[in-house]
Symmetry: C2
Subunit: 397 residues, 2 copies
DNA sequence: TCAACTATCAGAAACGTTTGTGATAAGCGT
DNA sequence: ACGCTTATCACAAACGTTTCTGATAGTTGA
């Protein structure tokens, strides 16, 4: 016995199927279908934000006029414009970027995918990207993959769904498949890789001097007298591991030092892996007298272990690491590093991306290499005369 | 002599004003207005992303059917649903979140405003927020104020324009006016403050035990025998400075130690301000024998200076700091800190916000205080017998 | 003084979704 | 065999902008 919600009569009402789990009715008299609602189910929560229509109504003009007035277009009399601007302030009108972006077909937003903000490199790079973005009128949307390939893929999907104008991507350490990147390219969405790049696909990239940096660090160790040089890398498949290993090998080769497999240690690049690596090195039949770590953080962890065992740094064992940060500077002994200037990398990456967004047709897969700098500190600097053995001895080139 | 672009005749065409800087024409014959275009000006760059309409056309069905099929609604036959799902994969369809959010009136996005990612506290808090967000189906949009009040206000406006569902805010150190926060509240947008909260407005907040932490740190110094305790704070107006100063004072009062203005040092909380602070303290007529710093980073900078002058830590001068991180643990001597668990703060903040988003009507301005923990390390732990003076001497309570 | 022009605004379409409502063919019971 | 029911789908409105097109009153010039 249902009353029609339109003509209010009972006679003509018949059931007419279930729709989305609810009973539907049909009133023959007024020819009207309807569903009973749970009362409280309705009311779609209307966001009570001021819209351009509110402003228009408030002034008794058209929405299009408000839009043009606020956006500084012509076709608007100074009087109207003033009135609109004042009304916008009075009503605290903030344009809905969703609607704006939907209409314009661009969001002025850049999506950034990084593995982990807690790594100082990414924190600094991110901060510099933000700075550039602010100055160029872009917004930034950051996603963390937490070093997980699945989340990285999810992140990129999310950012694409958000219709970001472009992507800045640094891969997680476990990423080995790059199908998700290829799909981005297929959609013609500008993308720039930075730091942890993907060498399988030709995309614009910003990298640092991985090879040169490793080479210089290892060469420095050699020039300080080290003869048995260990290297602590990340995962074996990891591009950065590979290229930095090459730098290591090249330096050894230059000075005719044999490359010994035992001195190459692969890690998962987690916190505290430095201790494990040290454990490994120190238990070798002939422990190294110099160690190069791909992450300076791990180098410091190794030094902590070394100090626990009263090993003299750098006399008995010297340490160098890739990447500078506060800890390297303040730790005792301070760590010799190759500074790869995270902020420059971030800056270059976002600038390159913005350039690519603007000339979307002519994507040039440029590869920018940011110049780094060797900073020699106490962890490897052997003061003349202090050394207990053959230090200062130079190899012929 | 303009040819009508519609009827292609010349006779009826007359000029009809300037419109947006371009000459407009009117054709009397076909009653049609038109403007000459620069050819290349046209073509609004159509984003070539697959839309729901593309999928619908591809299958020869209606867009609404596609939407319902993909969203698991009823009313769709299994056959159709399968076909739609397959087509979505084939065409690599990704829903446009802009359109979705615009339609639904919510974005499932949370806006986060932090002063600086480079501070380990915020990096860690952010990472834990991300984790929770991923698990609860929210996205996170991060903005950095770079410790600048103006940028902070801009950030919040941007996030509101993006129609985020809620805000997580930690103020910049120079923020003194909170009108922008009041406007957020007026719009009935859920907001939760964390860490650097605003005590002028009643909003939900997540804080740490600033008072208790400071108290315990200073009490610890006292119990280790320190009698002249300096404190390095942030800006004077800064809420965190004030509350932590109170903890400092309370501890001194408990042990009947007079509060001396000279021992209270305000700073701008910049990197390397620790050195300045140390300079100040050491040049006092009676330099402190224990220093508490609001930022553990600054405490470590002070220790660096102290070591340069061969001051024995902790025997001649002890140090403690608020907040733990890697540096505190690995530096030598390791720094005694009050760990305020950044990840717990982040987690609690986002959970509280999500709760408030869901029950938007009943905003309870809860204040959560995350329990911290005193970690005693070498920078203040006086080993019995090692101290050069009155250490171990306990005050009566 | 009348046609041509200009300034100013309104209306409507479009962006890509979701969802309420209408429509149709097939299934079912009496 | 007929009316009621169900399953399935299409259509249209709405979200809040921007922008294209159309309309009108006033202004100018010969």
């Amino acid at each position: 016995m249902q009353r029609c919600i339109k003509c209010n009569s009972v006679d003509g009402v018949i059931k007419s199927g279930f729709l989305r789990g609810k009973q539907r009715f049909f009133c023959k008299l007024c020819d009207f279908y309807f569903i009973l609602e749970n009362e409280n189910t309705r009311l779609p929560q209307k966001t009570n934000q001021t819209t351009i229509l509110d402003v228009a109504k408030h002034l008794g003009i058209a929405a299009s006029t408000v839009s043009r007035a606020l956006n500084g277009k012509s076709d608007i009399s100074p009087f109207t414009r003033k009135a609109v601007q004042q009304a916008a302030i009075d009503l605290d009108y903030k344009p809905n970027l969703l609607a704006q972006s939907l209409n314009k077909g661009k969001t002025n937003t850049i999506g950034v995918v990084i593995p982990n903000v807690e790594l100082p490199f990414f924190a600094t790079a991110l901060a510099s990207m933000q700075q550039v973005a602010i100055n160029t009128g872009y917004r930034i949307m950051v996603c963390h993959s937490s070093e997980c390939e699945a989340i990285e893929k999810l992140n990129i999907e999310t950012l694409i769904s958000c219709r970001v104008d472009g992507l800045l991507v640094s891969h997680s350490k476990e990423t080995t498949s790059f199908e998700h990147i290829k799909r981005v390219i297929a959609k013609n969405i500008p993308i720039v890789h930075f730091d942890r790049v993907c060498n399988e696909i030709t995309t614009p990239k910003v990298i640092h001097e991985d090879f040169k940096g490793s080479f210089e660090l290892v060469e420095h160790l050699i020039l300080q007298g080290c003869k048995k040089i260990g290297v602590m890398l990340g995962p074996e498949k990891f591009y950065i591991s590979q290229i930095r290993l090459e730098g290591y090998k090249a330096a050894l080769q230059k000075y005719n030092i044999p490359i010994i497999e035992e001195y190459i240690y692969y890690s998962d690049m987690n916190k505290y892996d430095g201790a494990k690596a040290f454990e490994y090195f120190i238990n070798l039949p002939a422990p190294p007298d110099g160690v190069f770590s791909i992450l300076s953080r791990n180098a410091i962890e190794m030094m902590v272990e070394a100090k626990k065992r009263h090993i003299k740094i750098p006399e008995e064992m010297a340490f160098v690491g890739f990447g500078d940060d506060t800890l390297c500077e303040l730790f005792e002994p301070s760590l010799t590093v190759f500074n790869h200037f995270p902020s420059k990398v971030g800056e270059a990456a976002i600038n390159l991306l913005i350039e690519n967004i603007k000339n979307k047709n002519s994507l040039i897969p440029a590869v920018l290499s940011i110049q780094g700098e060797l900073i020699i500190r106490d962890s490897s600097r052997v003061k003349t005369g202090v050394n207990s053995w053959s230090v200062g001895q130079k190899f012929t080139e």
